[in-house]
């Protein structure tokens, strides 16, 4: 028998499924309702949205779907929202999934976690719990969440979970409203709380295509400045680039629209039972109330994955695409066109390449690298 630490196990299983289409990781959004009103959020609805609540999957429907995804080979499951604990039956859904042998991550804002919930999670330990922090100062955190007192409740939950040694990770979105506190947050989380911390600055529009979250997005230069300020972060980018340097996609897959793990090794299910390629997808999806997960995986998602590009864009031959993160879904949200390059991401990728001293090869009509090795086109 091999007893593997998680990292080795994950590496081994991902090697095993390489080249095979197995839905090993998935996300279920149990609700989009949330008591917080974070301006940067891509999907939140008011906590008291009765119409949304009435359309959400029931406990029994969740159980049937969990049976089906487990049967199809799902091992890692994310339960996310909205705020997951707004659902009174969340722990029932969670426990059902645990008993099927799924490794479950919980995304929560922590607001509704009680000592009883924390005790329950000790008994039925999740694979991971992730909570977002938006400031060191309570005023900053509360300004981002739009709810006064959310910081105190947040810190109380962090205490509840850390006292119980639950596998907690904290994270943050860097916004124009909290950017001045990001290093303070890192210090607080890593040095004072002794927890893992990560942050991201890539904000997307809402899945209803509202561009409101972009109002608090940093400029491309600010995003890269955050990379540069942290030696560990810039080191990781360099390693990442070294690994994925060159054409990102194999030649025979150049004409495919999707190049991510969505629909190959992962999937997402929205609160209303629609199977999608990922949480950002804003299309109709496959209705799991009318068909099985297996059908949705083998028909709808397979067809989506085989979708071809309809035109050549500067992204196709871009060799720094690994540093960009653009995908058809965020292009759809930002440009209403899955193939149209997302300008913000393109700028970030080129600035990042410049910061790392990477020579960007010409790749079509790219205004950010008209002259090879130059950032002449960057603002």
């Amino acid at each position: 028998m091999d007893i593997l630490r998680y990292f080795d196990f994950s590496l081994e299983i991902h090697q095993k499924i390489k080249g095979r289409r197995i839905p090993i990781g998935g996300a279920i959004e149990v609700t989009r309702r949330c008591p917080l009103h974070c301006i940067h959020c891509y999907n939140n609805l008011p906590a008291d949205d009765q119409e949304a609540k009435g359309c959400e999957l029931t406990y029994d429907e969740h159980c049937r779907i969990i049976d089906e995804i487990t049967e199809a080979g799902c091992l890692w499951l994310l339960l996310t929202g909205g705020e997951i604990f707004l659902r009174k039956d969340l722990l029932d859904i969670y426990t059902y999934a645990k008993k099927k042998g799924l490794l479950i991550t919980l995304f929560t804002n922590g607001l509704l976690v009680t000592p009883e919930i924390a005790d329950y999670l000790v008994e039925w330990r999740p694979f991971s719990i992730e909570i977002s922090l938006y400031g060191c100062a309570k005023e900053t955190h509360d300004r981002v969440t739009g709810v006064e007192g959310s910081y105190e409740r947040y810190m109380r939950t962090i205490r509840l979970l850390t006292e119980r040694k639950l596998p907690l990770k904290l994270k943050s979105m860097v916004l124009s409203t909290n950017k001045h506190e990001i290093w303070g947050m890192k210090h607080l989380v890593e040095k004072e709380l002794g927890l893992e911390f990560r942050f991201d600055a890539m904000i997307n529009p809402r899945i209803d295509c509202s561009q409101d979250p972009l109002a608090v997005r940093l400029s491309p230069q600010e995003v890269v400045d955050f990379d540069l300020e942290d030696p560990k972060r810039i080191g990781e980018w360099r390693k990442f680039f070294d690994k994925f340097n060159g054409p990102v996609h194999p030649h025979d897959q150049m004409d495919e629209l999707y190049h991510c793990g969505g629909g190959v090794h992962s999937f997402a299910i929205d609160p209303y039972g629609k199977l999608k390629i990922c949480e950002l997808a804003c299309g109709d999806g496959y209705d799991l109330r009318k068909g099985s997960f297996r059908d949705g995986w083998e028909t709808y998602l397979l067809k989506l994955r085989k979708q071809k590009i309809t035109r050549q864009t500067k992204c196709i031959h871009c060799e720094i695409k690994a540093m960009c993160g653009m995908c058809p879904e965020n292009a759809q949200l930002e440009n209403k066109d899955p193939e149209e390059p997302v300008d913000f991401m393109c700028q970030v990728a080129h600035l990042r390449a410049k910061a790392l001293g990477i020579n960007v090869k010409p790749h079509g009509e790219c205004e950010y690298c008209r002259a090879q090795g130059s950032e002449a086109g960057l603002p």
Partner: protein, 101 residues
């Protein structure tokens, strides 16, 4: 009691998953195994794991291994005992008392 006559039962809080041909044992509750570890079984380990049902003795398990993989019974007994010991140490199985073959 003769060690080969012992029977073992799995902890009911362990779930066996077969993913991409890999047998994975997932502990689901806090009172079993090391929740930060993942247990994976090779082909022989998977067969032994399947045979651990509270009724099959170590000797019976070794017999099945010997027949399936055409190895000497003594060798199969040694391997089965070693594997079962590691499962017991990890808290994944327990002896069923006074069970004779």
């Amino acid at each position: 009691m003769d060690i080969l006559a012992r029977c073992y039962a799995k902890d009911s809080n362990l779930i066996t998953r077969d993913i991409a041909g890999e047998t994975i044992i997932v502990p689901v509750r806090n009172n079993v195994g090391d929740l930060d570890s993942i247990y994976t079984l090779n082909e022989v380990g998977t067969l032994i794991w399947e045979l651990i049902d509270g009724k099959n003795s170590v000797s019976r398990i070794a017999e099945v291994i010997s027949n399936t993989y055409e190895v000497k019974l003594e060798e199969a007994e040694r391997d089965a005992l070693q594997f079962i010991n590691s499962l017991e140490k990890a808290g994944m199985i327990r002896t069923i008392e006074n069970k004779m073959e």
